[in-house]
Structures are given as structure tokens and as C-alpha cells.
Symmetry: C2
Subunit: 129 residues, 2 copies
């Protein structure tokens, strides 16, 4: 693992939440996106070499939607930056992974880890293009 | 806010958890500490300019102990790096803070934010000496 690539929070309402985060972080939101396949409206803040990502689920039948329903707002996911997902899969073995590789924002390639191996928390690896 | 300074996980048993984290992160633990005042045994991994911190509560009557009892293992706290806690308190106002300044590892000065203002998650500011 090379870095903490991003930390995701689930929020109920992105528009309502953003002003407080902009005040706290002392900067305007860096970018806004939608990932329809993931059922997510997204706002990101750049913090040094990492991202703080806020996600509003747009449907209940998605990972962020289920997280919001089960746990309420708050931490959702921690993603580690890697040079190569393929190399990490070879090194760690398939048992470490909960999903196949999928596409995220900005061409990020991400792969979720098995939560039972990371203290029950959802962790993930991200490879940038 | 300048960076994501550290991300903390609560674990039930540090010794039992460490081998899997060392395997995942591809590196041995960077340092081990105890913070008796916080009721915490701690192991840290350096990842670029951030820390991944594992905490085993040593008593139930502490913030990490209560978090473990209420939520089980997993994400506990996200800390943002700042140049000056005093400047951030002036900029944000006291309403943003849940605690006074306290001392953390390595002379870090930390101050917890009001969880109601950060999607219910425990967030914190860290100033390094």
C-alpha cells in the first residue's frame, strides 16, 4: 500500500451537508460527480495527496444505500492507493478480495477488500490510471 | 485543513489483528505505543504522509472502549492535519469543538470536533509539534 487514497462518508443529503464541510475544511468542494451505476451523488475535497469523499446514495439497493440504512450517516469506506491492483492481488491472494475490479471516479480502478479481514470495516484498493 | 493526518480503527486485540494488517499493508508496523490516559494500546503504520492507527482499548470507560462496546471493531476516528489548532479554533468558532486540546502520540496536539457537525462521525484536528 502506498497511501491513504480516499476516505468516504455517507450522507443523507449532499446539498444540505456541503456548507458545513466547506466551512470545516476551509475550501470549496473540489469536484462534483455522479456515479449512476453505484447509485451515488458525490462531492470531493482534495487534502494534500488524499481525497475526502462525500456520498449521497440515490437508491437504497446499493452498497452506500445499504450502509446509510443500516448505520446512518458517517464513515463508509477507506481506500488505499496502490501502484497496481494486479500486483496486489497476486501478492495478497484472492481471499483478501470481496469484489472484482470496478471503475470509479476519474478512471480510478478500485477493488473492495473482504471486510472480515479489516476489522469489519469496508476497505478498498485504488489504482489511478 | 491541510491533510488527512491519521485514520484510527478500534480492534479488540492488537496482537491478534496485527499480522493481517502487516500482510495487507505490505510492511511491518511502524511503531507501537501505549497511551494510558486514553486507555489505549496503539500500533501505527506510516502510509505516505498519513498514519493508519490501530487502537485496542484497555478499559471500557474511555472513548475507544465505548466505541468498541457500541459499534464493535472498525473505523473509529478521522483526524485532519492542521498548522495551528489555535488558528482553526479562531476561524471555526468554539461551537465546532467537542473537547479541549489534549496530547496524543509523539507530542501531537489534538482536538475533537463535534460529531453532530461531521455526519455523526468522530473527526479531529491534529497539530504536530
Amino acid at each position: 500500500m502506498r497511501s491513504i487514497h480516499h476516505v468516504n462518508f455517507v450522507v443523507r443529503n449532499l446539498e444540505a451537508s456541503l456548507p458545513a464541510w466547506e466551512e470545516l475544511l476551509g475550501q470549496p468542494v473540489t469536484s462534483r460527480d455522479e456515479l449512476p451505476a453505484r447509485g451515488a451523488k458525490i462531492a470531493r475535497f482534495r487534502l494534500a495527496n488524499a481525497w475526502l469523499v462525500l456520498i449521497e446514495p440515490t437508491r437504497p439497493d446499493t452498497p452506500p444505500g445499504r450502509h446509510l440504512a443500516e448505520h446512518g450517516e458517517g464513515f463508509f469506506l477507506l481506500s488505499f492507493g496502490v501502484d497496481s491492483l494486479a500486483d496486489e492481488a497476486s501478492r495478497l491472494g484472492e481471499d483478501w478480495f470481496a469484489t472484482p475490479v470496478r471503475s470509479g471516479l476519474d478512471g480510478w480502478r478500485v477493488r473492495d477488500l473482504e471486510p472480515a479481514r479489516t476489522a469489519g470495516a469496508q476497505c478498498q484498493l485504488t489504482e489511478e490510471p
